[in-house]
Symmetry: none
Subunit: 209 residues, 4 copies
DNA sequence: TATGAATGAGGCTTCATTCAT
DNA sequence: TATGAATGAAGCCTCATTCAT
């Protein structure tokens, strides 16, 4: 019988749950899996979490927080730095997710349809993300950089593209080096969004930075 | 007690299951839901399907078939018709899915992570779809129409964009008219893929058609 | 596998639960006991009752109803018949309870403290019973038959006496013939309540009847 | 961490358990409740009691002892003092119980049906009590004071009356002042037991004393 | 073919008790 | 003596599947 402090055990259980979730997905992950992964007795789990649901909530929140920490607001003062900053956000987010493939699995599949309450949290998260993207795009349009395009649909495309790449990455279908992914995504985004005649010019900015 | 032929009953059960699935998702759909929806006794279900899993498989297959039927191979002989044909494929697929939102729900959430066997089927489906898209893109590159871009990543972007739009559509977040969706997607795809200097030219082709 | 109609099985389960309750009391009666007693699988229980609590509620209600059916309102028109009618009520109630000793066990011990909701039902039942007794006593006082005594306390004494006799009967401590119990209780009640100088006179009335 | 002697801690735990029991009843009182009430760690409890059952036994014994200490044997030499002594016993017992409502709760509800062993202790206690009452009654019959009545049933009535009054008192249904309760009970007992023609005479004795 | 009562493995959670510190 | 983390048996309930009618 190994004794840890409450805090340590809690953390360990969350990590164990994350591993279990990664292996089996939410619906097939049982308390048994989590405690086996943690090497702990059944009762110990309930010493730290009131229910299976609670630990899952904790995990979701944890992921939200980590993603939030990594995505920084774009400083729109200095136009020349905008591409770089967008790129930085994408890079940091993608890196975080690729380093924690389970996060992707949870976000993109398990969680959806989990239950009403969670669906709402997830939807809210995406809605905010989309709002942010849309804001950026509209801003670009006002500045005359972004093409005349339905901003809402374009934002969905950007989000969907990223999600799909990550998802397939996790599935192992396609695993190019991280740098390359970012690079390509950036270029695609560029073409999809920037006024055709400005693409080269903008890209120059980035290369300099 | 209504007596139907085996085939009729089977079909009726599949439709009932589809409705139930649409309401609750795979994991929360119980046999009880299906038979309630079908207005049939418990035993009757097992007269037609060996297990819950089997009817689900059937449904998946059904969806695959329908999607397959709607996506037609592009005739590459006549270059001028290519955009139109691609557009046609997208339109037909999108229409099918939007008319059967449950299909989307199943594909994009429930099914993922269902279990190893299903995951493989789904992956295979997507792999084929991606292969087709990639083929088209490479073709376009050879012909000098498509930009010099990582075809694999671009194909993921296209797929992801479409999925995301459909998914958000189902969630009800964003519900523009079908025509507009197709239109915008097409334009985004165009810019994302076509050599910038050819965009206008190509678009002309489509308008004529 | 024996098949009964839903109604039959339900009834059988209630009877089984009643037996189990009689043997072990509420807190120690497990679903296992009930289904063992009924010779039925675990799932079968839940086909008929949503929870352990539900079947217990059902049983309580059943007992309430049976007791209610047996206790008839006293007709105060004909004074000479009042003693006889009271006696009849007591006799029928006592007979019912002695024939179903489990009822007594449940009422007098298991049930008390079960939980807030049930406690309230039980309390309400007793309150009504006490009200009825008190009404009878006050009536008697107005007619000059019943001694000048605190009616509320006297009613508690009457109720408590009866409960105790029944309870000890069930425990097996003291098991005189039913007739004798009724007889003695009546006489005790008589002396405890009736104006001393009228006792003999009143008792004559009963003997005639 | 306050350090107490073994004896002090034990006493403190018993008091805490008594409070917990009073709030929730035996079946719903958990070790957690007791230690929370005592402000002590889980392990500490088991340092002093081997099991939940043990502390409960201790409590029961404690109550038995206290009741025993309060009920004094009747001195039958001086007939004139008998009513007073009986009254004194009742008064002291009732006072003790009303000052410790938990005792009543435990005795009259929780405990009953607890388990075979405890049931036996309780039954033995009551049997002794009843024997004592019966002894007194028979004595009175020999002396020609008590009516010709079934002593066993009468003793049950007396016990039951007292129990019911106390129980309803605890429930809060009826809370007259203590003095009045004793008074009324005495009068009821008097009429229920004493030869009708002696009632007044006997009551005089008490008033003088 | 149709019914719906019956089954029982399996999951979640509780809580008295133990044990390392 | 005191702590509180850890244990695991045992109970409740669900639900896919079976089977007698």
């Amino acid at each position: 019988m190994v004794r840890l402090t409450k805090e340590e055990r809690r953390k360990q259980l969350i990590e164990a749950a994350l591993r279990a979730l990664g292996k089996k997905g939410y619906h097939d992950t049982q308390i048994s899996d989590i405690i086996a992964e943690a090497g702990v007795a059944r009762g110990t789990f309930y010493l730290h979490f009131q229910s299976k649901r609670e630990i899952f909530d904790e995990i979701i929140s944890k992921i939200f927080v980590e993603v939030d920490e990594v995505v920084r607001p774009i400083n729109k003062e200095d136009i020349t730095r905008i591409p770089q900053e967008i790129l930085g956000n994408i890079e940091r987010a993608v890196t975080l997710l690729l380093e924690n493939p389970t996060y992707i699995k949870i976000f993109f599949s398990d969680a959806v349809g989990l239950d009403a309450e969670f669906d709402q949290r997830l939807r809210k998260f995406y809605t905010q993300l989309l709002k942010a993207i849309q804001g950026g795009l509209r801003n670009g349009q006002e500045m005359g950089i972004i093409r005349d395009v339905d901003v809402e649909i374009l934002s969905l495309c950007l989000l969907g593209s990223l999600k799909e790449i990550l998802y397939q990455y996790v599935l192992g279908t396609h695993k190019p080096p991280l740098k390359q992914i970012i690079q390509e995504v950036y270029r695609i985004v560029l073409h999809a969004t920037i006024r055709p005649d400005l693409v080269d010019q903008i890209d120059e900015l980035r290369k300099k930075a």
